[in-house]
Symmetry: C2
Subunit: 111 residues, 2 copies
């Protein structure tokens, strides 16, 4: 479970991580909800979601916290703001036009 140091975060990797529509949907969800768990997202296959989360994490865009068997994913806002001021905010605003990946669970239970 690798997270790059804040200083090692590389622009081209961050932009590549953010350039995929699926991952922009994830970013939107994280920006709105604060933290996401894999199982709460509607997604084709577990392994593909795992792949996208790894892309974001390895680029330094997200941090993954492990709690039991669950992974809690959040944006590395401060690290990104320090390294690339303004970048994440502008992307988050623009990502509002991408669809959410919300599960029924989110709608029906109160979490």
């Amino acid at each position: 479970m690798l997270h790059p140091d804040a200083e090692q975060i590389e622009l081209s990797l961050v932009l590549a991580a953010l350039s995929d529509p699926t991952r922009l949907s994830i970013i939107r969800q994280l920006a709105e909800d604060g933290e996401a768990m894999c199982r709460r997202l509607d997604f084709g296959s577990k392994s593909n979601l795992s792949y996208h989360f790894a892309k974001l994490r390895e680029a330094g865009v997200t941090r993954t916290r492990i709690e039991g068997t669950a992974r809690h994913i959040s944006l590395r806002r401060e690290d990104l703001d320090a390294r690339f001021p303004g970048l994440l905010d502008s992307v988050i605003k623009a990502a509002a036009s991408y669809p959410r990946l919300t599960t029924e669970a989110d709608v029906t239970d109160g979490a």
Copy 2:
């Protein structure tokens, strides 16, 4: 020679266009010099440079002005600022760490 309208510019295409190190070098050069001509850039092959310029142009990041046989490339700063406020500025600042693609010509003649 297609340029998307300002309103049609798509975030994921812009981020994909900006996510390549070669193109970040081009962006840096354009931000510093205002306009670039293909022949002024040190580059492996003409066709590959043409390809990278097309990527930037088709994503809406640059505008290409034709003058005789030469192409003059410039950033679409206003269009991008209107559509994704702050995005281009933050990328330009961060792109300063990518190498220039300067030719000898730029150094020796005064253009």
